[in-house]
Amino acid sequence: MSRTDLTALSPLLVVALAAVAVLLLISVRRNHRATATLTLAGLVLGLVSISWAATVTPHQVAPLLIADGYALFYSALVLAAAVVVCLLSFDYLEQRGEQREEFYVLLLLATLGGLVLVGASHFVTLFLGLEILSVAIYVMVAYARSSPLAAETGIKYLVLAGASSAFLVFGMALVYAQTGTLEFRPLVAQLSAIEGSGLALPGMALMLVGVGFKLAVVPFHMWTPEVYQGAPAPVTAFVATVSKGAMFALLLRFFAALGPGEARPLLVVLGLVAMASILAGNLLALLEQNIKRLLAFSSIAHLGYVLVAFLASSAFGDEAVTFYLVAYFVSTLAAFGVVTVLSDNEREAERIEDYRGLFWRRPLLATLMTGALLSLAGIPLTTGFVGKFAVVAAGVEASLWLPVSVLALGSAIGLYYYLRLVVVMLSSLDAGAATESAADSGRTPADPGQTPAWPRAARVGGGAALALGLLALLLLGLGLYPGPLMDVIESSVSPLR
């Protein structure tokens, strides 16, 4: 390995080393704060090292990994999301008595998996990255062992993820049979050289199963509500963002390399998947009473929206996909961030009733949540609006009338449930008190002198406050002034096509 190779891989190496360091630290001395700090330092260092790696781009490391502007941009996105999740997790775990330190090892490993995925230029690295990410997430979703739901969440995610990645490997083998290579670029060249795709196309169709599962799009979406609900809130935030974003980055890279002729049948499948996801996601979210499940369904729809821009198969579409993913990351992390800080060690703040009158109890958190929801709904002046505008523009430019109109329809349905939540947060406390106490009658009542409102006011810790403040800034900042980010995205997706 040359010096340049090491430089190009520095974000990966830093995160991998951080995982080892945290492991060693735990074996020496258990200290939650020190572990979290070390993890945070590792992630931040990883972010910093991206600028270092950028000095040698584009650089191919063996046939396995590539460090170009595109990979580095998504690496930054993955690492930034991991930083936020790390900050949120600290306060969340601090309240809980179980072994907390190992969580950070898993977080670092999962992040590492994401980084491998976005830099993959070979089927083996694809599978490796995917499995590093998945295996770490298996444990993360089942981490709260005292929680009754942890084991069930874990086994469901494990079996389904295992099955889908088995499909992926089998598909890979078929593609390999036809093309004789597992490396992206020669493989694509082979595909366009041979007449009639033979086994390659069915192989790629099976691979879509593995991809679709990670993206949680219809019909591979059914795990989403349960895993979102059962996993600890910060883990849900991670699953909702990092694992989907990294997978989408890979999908985009592969399809951008693929010629339009070879991609056409697969794009038809993905077009149907996109429309089905938009409709099913929004319909499922419509009357949902559990916030985490609601966000799960809405995330299904959101990945459908991103797919619409993806279908455009143009440089502009790539930009729209990337910007939308950034917007989705910011909004989703903000929403789950609020859920995280409102949760206490008894249960998670996931019922709609928990949010009734939140504006009057926790105005700042409620405002942030409103901002996140409006951004997810695509209301102007939020980052989500700019993203959705870009997606629609990309779809219109590529004359994808049917998907774009489905997108519009889905957004209209979406508006209903996002605004419903906003209205609940705005409504007065008194109105909700009656129903709330009725709903809470099964639980031990809180201090009778206080309002029965749940969750009980907990202080937001410094780390979480920092993360939420940052997200609030991005939520509005990228909505008002997306220009610089657009420029960065434009230059980073340019090597794709």
Binding site: Y138, A142, E152, I155, M172, T181
Partner: protein
């Protein structure tokens, strides 16, 4: 043996694995089903690499990776199944449905 024979075995294994994952009434068998699918893929990879020598060793190496990762997955999977058993007292997938509204 012909390449076709290997592919046939692989396809049969794949379908069996899928059926096991979807239909067996024990989580252990479900995990075994997943292993079968992965191994079906492995057979493919190795067979192609063997019968089309001009295409190099990518497939063989790929298979090794798959074996390693399948082992990791199985290890975690069994640990979680143990957890499930201690929590639910059963490892029948149908009985594990508290996460539903």
């Amino acid at each position: 043996m012909e390449l076709g024979a290997y592919l046939a075995v692989s396809a049969v294994l794949f379908v069996l694995g899928m059926a096991m994952a979807a239909a067996r009434r024990s989580l252990i068998y479900v995990l075994m089903g997943l292993e079968l699918i992965l191994n079906a893929a492995n057979i493919n990879l190795v067979a192609f690499a063997r019968f089309k020598p001009e295409i190099g060793l990518d497939g063989q190496i790929g298979a090794i990776f798959v074996i390693i990762l399948a082992a990791a997955e199985a290890a975690i999977g069994l640990a979680i199944v143990l957890n499930v058993y201690s929590r639910f007292g059963t490892i029948r997938p149908d009985d594990i449905d508290e996460l539903r509204q």
